[in-house]
Structure formats: structure tokens, C-alpha cells
């Protein structure tokens, strides 16, 4: 029972049933550095990740 998270060109497989925040912590991605979206809609990080779904993470850090 897994789901997929993407960030730029990277793809991560996580267990479904955990929250977005837990998944980010597991992947060592600071939650402050991304916005999670499901089917184009923004979701808060307490959302449970459903089986087989795709959560697209949008990086918010820019610099130079």
C-alpha cells in the first residue's frame, strides 16, 4: 500500500496512511521548503496520503 511523492525531478515512494508531514519528515524534506498538492489543489500537511495517489511537492526556495 504505497503512494508517490514527487519533487522536481525526484520521485519517492511512501507508505499510504501516513500524513504528508510524516512523509516529509521520513524523507528529510523540511516542510517549510515545499507546498504539497493533490490533483492541482493545495493540501495541508496533516492530510492522510491515500493508497496509490500522487502528491506533487512544489519547491518554494529560490535564491541567488
Amino acid at each position: 500500500m504505497t503512494a508517490t511523492l514527487t519533487l522536481r525531478n525526484q520521485e519517492f515512494e511512501v507508505k499510504s496512511g501516513m500524513t504528508v508531514r510524516s512523509a516529509l519528515e521520513k524523507l528529510e524534506i523540511p516542510p517549510e521548503s515545499v507546498i504539497a498538492t493533490r490533483e492541482g489543489e493545495l493540501v495541508t500537511d496533516d492530510e492522510l496520503i491515500e493508497d496509490g495517489e500522487l502528491i506533487k511537492l512544489i519547491s518554494v526556495i529560490s535564491g541567488g
Binding site: 495541508t44 529560490s62 541567488g64
Partner: protein
């Protein structure tokens, strides 16, 4: 998580404010807060003619959008840096700015560095060891010069940039690590036009986290360049942001407190104006802009360097 205002499904949670909002209320909240900051920090008034520096990124296009929504008269300034990076970075950035301007019937001023000054930013970087080591520093010198000139020549009352809290906190972090007192003294949401030839500058988004400006752009449907500037890869500012975000994760509000308490400390006189800070500015003998140099400003000296073989 529910929206604090209506109980609907929240689109964003701002842990530092203990505030979650739905799309509709978030899109009301951001412009209202921006207006509050414009007034609180006396940035500009509705009568002022504003020039917004737009890069095609989320922050500057969000800022332009917010100012127009709030009823300000704001033109855009795009500086074509001539950076390609294998995917036409600058050309792509311009297209996002132009598309936004066209869709909203706004005026976009475009200054192409290569065509105007004879060298693109990558070519300027190649001229100096500093440019090869720190391409963002050369780019910064160039943009500051060009922005001030465009604002001055166009008789704008204020030049505004899309700097967010993360940008400001990262700069503060770097300046504090190195105790760069002169830079600390000058950092703030408003830079007054203290010398002739300098245009007033303001950063209306300086209290929003980068995550919040990105959320605003996404929720408003603003199309922006998502690719990172190829020159910014490995930049210190990004490294500092990552460190600050680690702090923020453990301690919500850490970035905001770090920056706002710095401003309060400055107001209390922690960073007293040193005597050397009052040194006179001269006028660049080439472009006529203010400079601490006795002859030509740093940007003109850079432009006039010979092109390497």
C-alpha cells in the same frame, strides 16, 4: 485542517501564526496584510508612482498582482540578464512577465543588459575572478544599478522588490555570521533615498514566508518560472535558507522572530551609525548614478572591462 475564518477545508497552514485558511480567505488575507505592512512601515501612498522589479519568479509577480489588486499604479521592470543555462532561462522569465503584463493590461519596461551595455551577465562574470566565483554578486551589482536608473529616469516615486521573509532572514543570517555591520545597518523593509540620484526602495512582502508567496501565486493561478536560476545553484543564500527552515520546522516562527527582533534592535540603536557611514556619495562619471567611488561606479567599471579572449 479547517479554515479559521469559515470552517471550510484549509489550503494552507501557517504554523508561525497558528492560522490555517481556505483558498478564498487566504487570497483575501495576503493583500490585506500587505496593505497593513505598506502603511505600518510607511512604504508608499496610493498617489505614488511605483516601479515593480519583476523577474518572472513567484515573489515579484505575486507582488505586482497584489499591488494592482490594492489599486496602486504600478509598472513592471524586467531586466534581461542573458542567462541561458541550457534552457533559455532569461527568455523564459521574460515570457512569464510579458504574459502577466499583457493579461492585465499593464506596462512592462524591459532592459536587456546585453543589448544596452554590450555584455550579458554571464559575459560580465567572465571578465572578473569575482564573477567566476560569485556570479550572484556581479548580478546583484548590475541589477541594483539598472533598477535605480530605470526608476530615476522614469520619475517613479518608489522602486519595489518581491523580497520575502526568507530572503531577508537569509541575508541577515549571512551578515550576522560575518558581523558585517555596515550591511546590517542598511538592511530593512524600506531604504530611503537619502542621497541625490537614489530612488526610494521598499519590500512590501518582507513579512511573508517564501512558502506563503508561492501559495499565493499558485492559488491565484499566476504562472511563474519554476526553474531555479542556473547561476544560483549552490548559492550561499539557498544554503542559509535551508538551515533556517530546519530551525523553523522545530520552532515555528523562528525565522520571523529572528528578523523582526533584528529590526526592533536596530530601532533601539543596537547598530549605531558609525562616522564612516556618513561618507559622501559621488556621481559616477560614466552613468551619473550615485557611487562611493571617486570616479566610475562598480557597474560601469565592470561593463568597461575588456572581454576575455
Amino acid at each position: 485542517m479547517k479554515c479559521k475564518k469559515c470552517g471550510g477545508k484549509a489550503a494552507i497552514n501557517m504554523r508561525q501564526h497558528k492560522l490555517a485558511l481556505c483558498k478564498e480567505h487566504y487570497l483575501d488575507w495576503i493583500p490585506a496584510q500587505t496593505q497593513r505592512f505598506i502603511e505600518k512601515y510607511k512604504m508608499f501612498s496610493p498617489e505614488d508612482k511605483i516601479l515593480v522589479a519583476v523577474s518572472g519568479g513567484k515573489d515579484s509577480l505575486a507582488l505586482w498582482d497584489i499591488l494592482i489588486q490594492l489599486g496602486y499604479q504600478a509598472d513592471g521592470l524586467y531586466i534581461g540578464l542573458g542567462i541561458d543555462g541550457g534552457f533559455g532561462y532569461s527568455d523564459k522569465s521574460l515570457r512569464f512577465c510579458q504574459r502577466y503584463a499583457d493579461r492585465h493590461g499593464l506596462n512592462l519596461i524591459v532592459v536587456d543588459v546585453g543589448k544596452t551595455y554590450g555584455s550579458t551577465i554571464p559575459q560580465l562574470n567572465d571578465k572578473t575572478p569575482r564573477g567566476k566565483e560569485k556570479p550572484c554578486a556581479v548580478c546583484g551589482v548590475s541589477k541594483r544599478n539598472i533598477m535605480n536608473r530605470a526608476a530615476r529616469d522614469g520619475n517613479y516615486d518608489v522602486l519595489v522588490t518581491g523580497h520575502n521573509l526568507d530572503d531577508e532572514a537569509a541575508v541577515l543570517f549571512g551578515n550576522t555570521l560575518n558581523w558585517l555591520d555596515r550591511y546590517l545597518l542598511r538592511q530593512g523593509p524600506v531604504l530611503e533615498a537619502e542621497r541625490p540620484g537614489l530612488v526610494r526602495k521598499a519590500k512590501p512582502l518582507f513579512r511573508f514566508y517564501e512558502r506563503e508567496t508561492a501559495a499565493y501565486a499558485l492559488l491565484r493561478g499566476i504562472e511563474y518560472i519554476y526553474d531555479e536560476c542556473p547561476h544560483a545553484v549552490g548559492a550561499k543564500s539557498i544554503y542559509y535558507k535551508e538551515i533556517l527552515n530546519q530551525l523553523e520546522t522545530k520552532r515555528p516562527g523562528a525565522k520571523l522572530i529572528f528578523y523582526l527582533n533584528f529590526l526592533k534592535a536596530k530601532d533601539r540603536g543596537l547598530f549605531a551609525e558609525p562616522v564612516i557611514e556618513s561618507e559622501a556619495l559621488n556621481t559616477c562619471t560614466s552613468c551619473g548614478q550615485p557611487t562611493t567611488s571617486p570616479a566610475k561606479c562598480a557597474f560601469c567599471r565592470l561593463v568597461e572591462l575588456p572581454t576575455p579572449d
